[in-house]
Amino acid sequence: MGRTAIHLTVNGRRHEVSLSANTTLLTALRDLGYTDVKNGCEIGECGACAVFLNGEAVNSCMVLAHQADGAEIVTNAGLGTMKDPHPIQEAFADAGAIQCGFCTPGMVISTKALLDRNPNPTEGEIRTALSGNLCRCTGYGQIVAGVRLAAQRLQQSASSPASASSQSEEGQEPASEKRVLASGEQEKAGGDSK
């Protein structure tokens, strides 16, 4: 099968890859080593492969890699790391929103897409925003709690001047933001559980 070259910028790294016309963005990303993008169904039903494509959350299994030629892509691992997690990722960990973790990268992407446009969503809005992401472990309740916790922490940090400059850069939250927010939140997250 013929292959043609395309350019993808993923989490700030630029790649040139030769791919056949029917390769999905999901396959391209996983083959490049972005294995945090999960393959759960390949037909757009589960949401585990969600990424940002030029700022828009998409299921990467439903996009051909060639359609993404020249695009900026951000995966969950591009939002934060073990050393420097994104507040949404940290809130998920604190709220018990993670069990097997396979749906989590897609959930985090959908959550960020929601909170970027609606910083203070209702439970109904959260549930609607996550309705394309299947989870078989949690029953979604603790994920909704994780989104709420993330929204609360992000709003607190937005009102603190230290973080104002960081908002333009995808996934580059300053370390100070998390330290400000970490205090007392563990207890709060725990307090939500019985």
């Binding site: 393959n39 934060g80 940290e90 018990g96 985090v108 609607t128 299947l134």
Partner: protein, 775 residues
């Protein structure tokens, strides 16, 4: 149901703890949150091949021709294997003690179909090629000629004279009988006999992570298999199938993206082992979602009939229960699942006169095996719907009927096993009913219904399996703790719980504990992550190992500070004199003192579950399980009488977990298990027609999304009476069991009639209302 007041709890005093009992962030949470956790399908190896499986497209057929020559000739194809190449190897699904092992050994599933295929999806050949695309092309080049055979698609048909037989002499896979008390006398004493029949469908596990793995042969000749599995100890069965020594197969488990029982069976690992051995190269195989539906186990469909003799006050005088389960084409774990359903057939109730007859039969459909609850949820759909039918027949409150029959600690199950721990049935039921609050009013077209279910579910494996687990605990020179334990973590917090226990006992914060898990060669074998057994088994093993290390630390610290050992405690990475906390030794200094004197600060411990003999097969009497978890779910539903749609309005779940090692994780188990049970009742059905799959993907087989059900109100009770560490009981499977029967009872309450078959689709609701439509 009138307003319910929660039954006061017995006065339980649990010792105060520092790490255990706290909703700490799980040790695995952050890695998963940032996408750093590497799952089975994420691994690659240098020089790696890609594999695919050829699967049967017929439910029952003789293989007239299977021609792989063209596939083998395709450039880039490294190997093609058929049954001949694997020498007719079988998946040895028998485990020690399996019922009928001798008689039924001929019905073990072949690794690759021999002469006959018995279900759609049965593996027939394996291909390994340089790329996935080439492997897929090679599958297309395999020539197959089938001679279709008559199939059998229901257990009822499978037992009829002249039915096609899957394995001689007949289609019976397993059967049990319970004979306890005097059934006829009990029935004669009854004021009323209530008889009902309930049916349940095939269900798909639908965990998000498809099965997959990578295998290679290392420089010692050991076949290494990296795979997402609940059972790393399948390395022995795989060695047997390959005909190699057991110390030449190593399973390196990965973090598992959900299992729920289906990753208890051998899946990709046996194919990977054969392909890696044949090619001498690393091989990767990952199922697609469609393959997942066709290739892996399902929950057993059951038909359960209860005939119950009752007094006018609701007291049960006798029960006659029959259960028929569909085993699909191969037995897998069916004999055990049927045993679980049989042993829990009467529920958490004291029934002195009882007969149970259960049978599982083979059909030409997807095989059925373990699924969270392992027959317990099906049994509960029988006994809990029947309790409400009894209440209706006697015009009594459903809670009153249950109160009249609840077992107490010391009472026996239908197999005569006395329950030794707390039995907080009414405590759970009254709390979930109370939690529903005010009843939502009906409208002219929407009927509101409420229902609950009180269930019990075993935790720990069948006691005649003589189950064991091992764990190794050590303290490093800087006072950090290392835990080595072969526990597969399937997402429920298996690793975290035992880390929290080690942290508690050794007096260190949770972040100072590191665990190495799930490797059959280098982590002490901890048994399967199944049967709600890991917290119980490996939790106890870690407790034993950590306590041994703790004792050595306390002895040396006491000597150092000139006090008695009983006066020293370990907390905040120090050995502290309890009466005077200003006197302490830092843990890292204490470790150096021990090292200088050759005091060993690591320990390998083995925990043995109680060992019992098997059941008396004539009477079905004997012990089966270590202990039980008791719980309840109550729901409120709104049934639209025009469309047949059911909306879940409220849901509350309450379980006595003995002791919650991590309450946030326990909440997650209860909420998630309940949710699966709600899906079971309201939407999930794996549909086969004449053996052909009609729900082949997540587009047809619907599982609950975030907008289908509200959050479950989770209530955790702690009796402290479990046989796990710190008095914990298991919660993984018990969490699911009460949800579906609670919904069934609520729907019946709303409609005034009972729909006998799950799931409660709009079509069935309208039929029940006498208003069938073509929706």
């Amino acid at each position: 149901m009138s307003k319910v007041t929660p039954k006061p709890l017995p006065d339980v005093k649990l010792p105060p703890l520092r790490q255990v009992g706290k909703p700490l962030r799980r040790v695995d949470a952050l890695g998963k949150a940032v996408g750093a956790t590497v799952y089975a399908a994420d691994f690659t190896m240098p020089n790696m091949l890609h594999a695919k499986v050829l699967r049967s497209s017929r439910p029952h057929a003789r293989i007239v021709r299977l021609d792989v020559s063209k596939a083998r000739e395709l450039p880039g194809v490294a190997c093609v294997l058929t049954s001949e190449d694997v020498k007719g190897a079988k998946l040895n699904t028998d485990l020690p003690g399996q019922t009928g092992r001798e008689a039924r050994s001929g019905s073990d599933a072949p690794v690759l179909a021999l002469d006959v295929v018995r279900y759609v999806g049965e593996p027939m050949a394996l291909v390994a090629a340089e790329t996935l695309e080439l492997a897929e092309q090679a599958l297309e080049l395999i020539g197959i000629e089938y001679e279709d055979l008559p199939g059998v698609f229901t257990p009822e048909d499978s037992l009829k004279p002249g039915a096609p037989i899957l394995f001689e002499p007949d289609n019976v896979v397993s059967r049990y009988a319970i004979r306890k008390g005097d059934l006829e006398k009990g029935m004669a004493e009854a004021d009323l006999v209530v008889e009902s029949t309930f049916k349940m469908p095939f269900v798909e596990h639908a965990y998000l992570e498809p099965d997959g793995g990578v295998a290679w042969v290392d420089e010692q000749g050991v076949i290494n298999i990296r795979v997402c599995t609940q059972v790393i100890e399948h390395f022995r069965s795989i060695a047997r199938a390959l005909g190699v020594p057991q110390n030449r197969v190593r399973i390196r488990g990965t973090m598992v993206g959900g299992g729920f029982g289906s990753k208890e069976d051998i899946t990709v690992e046996i194919f990977l082992a054969f392909l890696a051995r044949e090619t001498g190269r690393p091989v990767k195989l990952v199922y697609t979602r469609e393959e997942q539906f066709a290739a892996t186990a399902k929950r057993h469909p059951f038909t359960i009939t209860h005939r119950t003799g009752v007094k006018n006050d609701g007291c049960i005088t006798a029960a006659q229960i029959t259960m028929t389960a569909d085993s699909g084409a191969y037995p897998y774990l069916t004999p055990y699942v049927l045993l679980y359903a049989t042993g829990m057939a009467a529920g958490p109730y004291k029934v002195d006169n009882i007969h149970v007859n259960s049978i599982a039969t083979a059909t030409n459909q997807s095989f059925t095996s373990a699924f969270r609850g392992f027959g317990g949820p099906q049994a509960a759909l029988g006994y809990e719907q029947q309790m409400d039918e009894i209440a209706k027949a006697l015009d009594l409150d459903p809670l009153e009927v249950r109160r009249a029959n609840y077992m107490q600690t010391g009472d026996a199950t239908c197999t005569g096993q006395a329950v030794t721990s707390a039995v907080w049935t009414e405590e759970c039921a009254t709390r979930v009913l109370h939690a529903l609050g005010e009843r939502t009013p009906d409208t002219p077209t929407v009927k509101i219904g409420r229902g609950f279910a009180n269930t019990f579910q075993s935790y720990g494996r069948i006691t005649w399996f003589h189950d064991t687990s091992r764990a190794w605990v050590g303290v490093e020179q800087d006072g950090t703790v290392v835990l080595r334990c072969g526990v597969p973590d399937i997402g429920a917090g298996q690793s975290n719980s035992i880390c929290q226990i080690a942290a508690e006992i050794l007096g260190v914060p949770l972040e100072r504990v590191t665990i190495y898990a799930t490797d059959s060669a280098v982590t002490p074998l901890a048994g399967t992550s199944t049967a709600t057994r890991q917290l119980y088994m490996s939790g106890n093993a870690v407790t034993m190992a950590a306590n041994e290390v703790r004792a050595r630390l306390l002895a040396r610290a006491a000597k150092q500070m000139g006090v008695a050992e009983t006066e020293v405690d370990l907390e905040d990475s120090r050995a502290v004199v309890t009466s005077d906390p200003s006197r302490f030794v830092e843990l890292k200094d204490l470790v150096h003192l021990c090292a200088a004197e050759g005091i060993e600060l690591s320990h390998l411990a083995q925990f043995n579950a109680p060992f019992t003999d098997g059941l008396d097969l004539e009477t079905g009497q004997g012990d089966i399980w270590p202990d039980f978890t008791f719980g309840a779910v109550a729901v409120e539903v709104a049934v639209d009488t025009e469309t047949g749609q059911i909306q879940l309005l409220k849901c509350a779940a309450c379980h006595d977990v003995g002791r919650a090692i991590n309450p946030a994780a326990v909440e997650g188990q209860i909420a998630g298990g309940t949710h699966q049970g709600l899906g079971y009742a309201l939407m999930e059905e794996f549909v086969l027609e004449d053996g052909f799959i009609k729900t082949p993907s997540l587009a047809e087989y619907l599982i609950p999304t975030s907008v289908d059900f509200p959050s479950t109100d989770v209530i955790i009770l702690e009796s402290g009476t479990g046989v796990g560490p710190f008095g914990a009981k298991g919660i993984g499977e018990p969490a699911l069991t009460p949800a579906a029967p609670a919904v069934a009872n609520a729907v019946s309450d709303a409609l005034g009639v009972r729909i006998s078959e799950l799931p409660f689709t709009p079509k069935r609701v309208l039929e029940a209302l006498g208003n069938p439509s073509d929706c």
